[in-house]
């Protein structure tokens, strides 16, 4: 049912997912009054109480903003995807992956326990992998999906280590406790914690030098790019930075690391965005720019910088999701995403054009869009930060470039002379228009009504989550201040860049070409890993049974030998008086001597079998008929199996060098001696009979059985027996697979 849902069932699934997401949006919105009132909504289940881990969630200002964005944009994305690819034969699978992603992302931002957060963090990496590689027939998509997963999941491992260190330093994994606590800035573990957490956040949010995976992730279907790789998943990294800001922020190291990575990412990405011919790639780089800007702002510790970060996050999610959907609609309507092949579409696709123009106005930071307020706040925030002139310069450069890119995306495809496109251009279906138009209009509405609509929520994020004493106001007109001047400068530079983009290209292209490609570097790292893995496999997995057995017995001898030397156990040697036991012992030892000295394999098998039977006889003598019978049967069957294999082989000839023979002998004798000593020492120490007597007393009373061995196997310890059954079956099926495969491969 999940696949092959081409009969409209797939579409129904898409609508259902959209409605579900909308319901989550409503649910989140209903919590808003309580959250704004500084009463976070809490929910917790014990998970592993012995480790202090719980499945705990919390809705406060910051997670509310993320939750609203994730569910709201998610609802529109499901609708969009239904129009975009509802007739794809595997659309059902797609909806499942996308919904799983949405739930993981919600879990991530709502988590109150660090381990819970990590769990959902990794789930977003995995679902993202499935979604980027959705077009799995395409090797490029598979490769890029793997790259995204290895980078983000690798960062996730660093993050887990960082979280465990935080748990050690703060005495628990409860975020509410960690954040309201004294902070970790003075902890002796602060250095490692910071490095590990930043590794996690920077890989997830694609900050320089880990930014290369994000443009590659555009191999995903467009709804995925719009949702994961602009509006939500890549925001997980900046979410984490914001979330942990009270506990980790405010130090010089924090400030320098975030400012540097953020500024480099923002400027580099916006330059690269200018140079993309594919609209989707251009958007991917502008996403990097936005993530860099937010990271840079989170370096600050002033309410202005942090308000700017949170506001710009909302701004970016609104316009970027809208623009990605616009590009998908253009691709759908014309058959191409290349800027050079598009022009004059405004007449054929008026609603798409409207969404594009509004969203780009927000991206360019034009009033009265919310983007304008976001940009003003960025400049106001930049002034409060360490290294303010540099931060402001980076912000102006990035924003001016963004302005030019917005111009390219809004103007070139939709205005000017029409260009013949692969398909005759036509407007997309309503499902694909709802998302971009609603989000673009939303950018306008929350721009005009910023303070009444967003003021209290952002205020709650600032005071409740980031623990600031206040938030900056959101005003379209904040007065004739330095931020306003910087905005005017941005527009001037932006217009110049747009008009002189050809000269700009001629200027930067030679430089860009000379930059080392991190993407190629990644491939080389992977190749290196493969070579290393092959080498160590060759070294460790020789494929020779002798080598494996040597390793096993050498380790056993070493472990037992050290135990004996350090523990000096008492040994009680009590020679048996029974002639029967002496005979059995001689018989058993003779089997071993025979197995060692014969050249005939059948004799060797018989020798080993003799040892086994001797042991079974001793079991009978000791009054353990069940164990003895089992031993006897196992011995018989393994002799049979040996015989089947060994009779096909030539006789045993000694081919080992004397030195190797010597080494084998030493290991064998040492192992044997050590085991003997341990067994003698075990029999010397008094036996704890509490378990045995429990079984003796209750075997009949509780389990109605007189044979204690069997009662233990099938009743008292039935679950263990069940585990052994799994092992036995798996071992035989594994051997079966190996044997049958060899036969097919052979002649």
């Amino acid at each position: 049912m999940l696949d092959g849902a081409s009969d409209g069932a797939g579409r129904m699934l898409g609508y259902a997912a959209s409605i579900l997401a909308a319901l989550i949006l409503v649910g989140m919105a209903l919590m808003a009054p309580a959250v704004v009132d500084d009463r976070p909504v809490l929910f917790a289940l014990d998970w592993a109480p012995s480790l202090g881990i719980s499945l705990a969630f919390m809705v406060d200002g910051l997670s509310l903003i993320f939750g609203l964005l994730i569910s709201g944009i998610g609802s529109l994305i499901f609708l969009y995807a239904t129009g975009y690819m509802g007739d794809h034969p595997q659309f059902g699978r797609f909806v499942l992956f996308l919904f799983a992603f949405m739930v993981s992302m919600l879990g991530l931002v709502l988590a109150r326990d660090l381990i819970t957060l990590f769990l959902f963090w990794e789930l977003t990496s995995i679902t993202s992998y499935l979604l980027i590689g959705f077009d799995h027939d395409n090797p490029r998509a598979r490769r890029n999906a793997l790259q995204a997963m290895l980078v983000t999941a690798g960062g996730g491992l660093a993050l887990l280590a960082g979280f465990i260190l935080i748990g050690t330093a703060a005495g628990g994994y409860d975020l509410a406790q960690i954040l309201t606590g004294p902070g970790l800035q003075d902890s002796s573990l602060y250095g490692p914690i910071l490095v590990l957490v930043l590794l996690g956040a920077f890989t997830k949010s694609a900050q320089f030098p880990f930014h290369f995976w994000l443009p590659n992730a555009m191999a995903a279907p467009t709804p995925v790019s719009a949702y994961l790789h602009s509006a939500t998943m890549v925001k997980a990294g900046v979410y984490l930075l914001a979330r942990l800001h009270p506990a980790l922020g405010g130090t010089l190291a924090w400030s320098v690391a975030l400012t540097t990575a953020g500024a480099i990412t923002a400027v580099l990405a916006s330059v690269l965005a200018m140079r993309q011919s594919d609209l989707k790639q251009a958007l991917a780089y502008t996403t990097l720019m936005a993530l860099g800007t937010i990271t840079m702002l989170l370096a600050g510790a002033h309410p202005y910088a942090l308000t700017a970060a949170v506001t710009f996050l909302i701004v970016h999610s609104l316009y970027k999701a809208s623009l990605f959907m616009v590009v998908g609609a253009v691709d759908h309507g014309t058959g191409t995403r290349e800027v050079a092949q598009l022009g004059g579409l405004g007449r054929a696709m008026p609603l798409t054009a409207l969404a594009a123009v509004l969203a780009c106005a927000s991206m360019a930071g034009l009033p009265p869009m919310i983007g304008w307020i976001g940009k003003e706040l960025i400049y106001a925030g930049a002034e409060t930060m360490t290294g303010a002139p540099l931060v402001a310069a980076a912000a102006v450069a990035a924003n001016a470039l963004m302005f030019a890119v917005a111009g390219i995306i809004a103007l070139r495809p939709f205005f000017g002379a029409p260009i013949t496109t692969p398909h005759h251009p036509h407007e997309a279906p309503w499902q694909m228009l709802a998302g971009p138009v609603i989000l673009a209009l939303g950018g306008l509405v929350v721009g005009v009504l910023a303070q009444p609509l967003l003021g209290s929520v952002i205020g709650s994020a600032l005071t409740g989550s980031l623990l600031q004493d206040r938030a900056a106001g959101l005003h379209l007109w904040a007065g004739f201040n330095r931020a306003f001047v910087l905005s005017l400068l941005t527009f001037t530079l932006g217009i110049m860049l747009y008009l002189m983009r050809a000269r700009f290209a001629a200027l930067v292209d030679p430089v860009l070409r000379r930059l080392p490609s991190l993407d190629d570097g990644w491939d080389r790292v992977l190749d290196g890993l493969r070579v290393l893995a092959a080498w160590q496999t060759r070294m460790l997995q020789t494929g020779r049974l002798t080598a494996y057995l040597m390793a096993v017995f050498a380790v056993v001898a070493l472990a037992l030998g050290l135990t004996i030397i350090r523990g000096r156990p008492e040994i009680a040697v009590e020679l048996p008086r029974s002639a029967f036991l002496w005979l059995t012992a001689i018989f058993t030892a003779a089997g071993a001597v025979l197995a060692l000295n014969t050249h005939s394999r059948i004799a060797a098998i018989a020798g080993i079998g003799t040892v086994g039977i001797g042991v079974a006889v001793i079991f009978i003598y000791a009054g353990a008929p069940d164990v003895a019978t089992t031993q006897l049967m196992v011995e018989t069957l393994s002799a049979v199996m040996f015989a089947i294999a060994a009779l096909r082989l030539p006789g045993i000839t000694e081919r080992r060098s004397p030195r190797r023979q010597m080494a084998h002998g030493v290991v064998a004798v040492t192992t044997g001696l050590c085991v003997t000593v341990i067994i003698l020492s075990v029999t010397a120490s008094p036996l704890d009979r509490s378990i045995t007597s429990y079984f003796e007393e209750n075997s009949y009373a509780l389990a109605h059985g007189l044979n204690i061995v069997n009662v233990v196997l099938v009743d008292f310890r039935a679950f263990d027996t069940f585990g052994e059954l799994i092992v036995v079956l798996l071992a035989s099926f594994g051997a079966y697979a190996v044997l049958k495969r060899k036969r097919k491969a052979g002649p």
């Binding site: 069957l637 096909r648 109605h704 009743d715 069940f722 059954l725 036995v728 060899k742």
Partner: protein, 133 residues
Amino acid sequence: MNSLILSVGARFLTGLFLLFSLFVLLRGHNSPGGGFIGGLIGAAGFVLYSFAAGVEDARRALRVDPRAIGVWGMAIAVLSGLASALASLDPFTGLWLILEDLALSTVLVFDIGVYLAVFGAILTLVFALEETV
């Protein structure tokens, strides 16, 4: 293996082995025996048969693929373990039905599962070895 004594003897012995293995299985709860040993004895009987008559004949005589027998054994063991959930007891708690001389229990069902799983696993391995090597 072309031995007249073996091929004639195996026909009787296999039956005896099987009968004995069932006997061992059923008496297990009170006297030496049980599903594990029973499974090994039963498998040994069929191994003997496969030596005498060849694997193909042995497979035919068994009728069911030994892999399926193993998996069924496992399934029976699981179900008998979960049956206690119906009585709101912990998994793998034995349930007993005692009628005069006859005692029936989920524990016995579990032991039958053990018997089948061991029987299937050993025969899967031995048959595959004989066919391949």
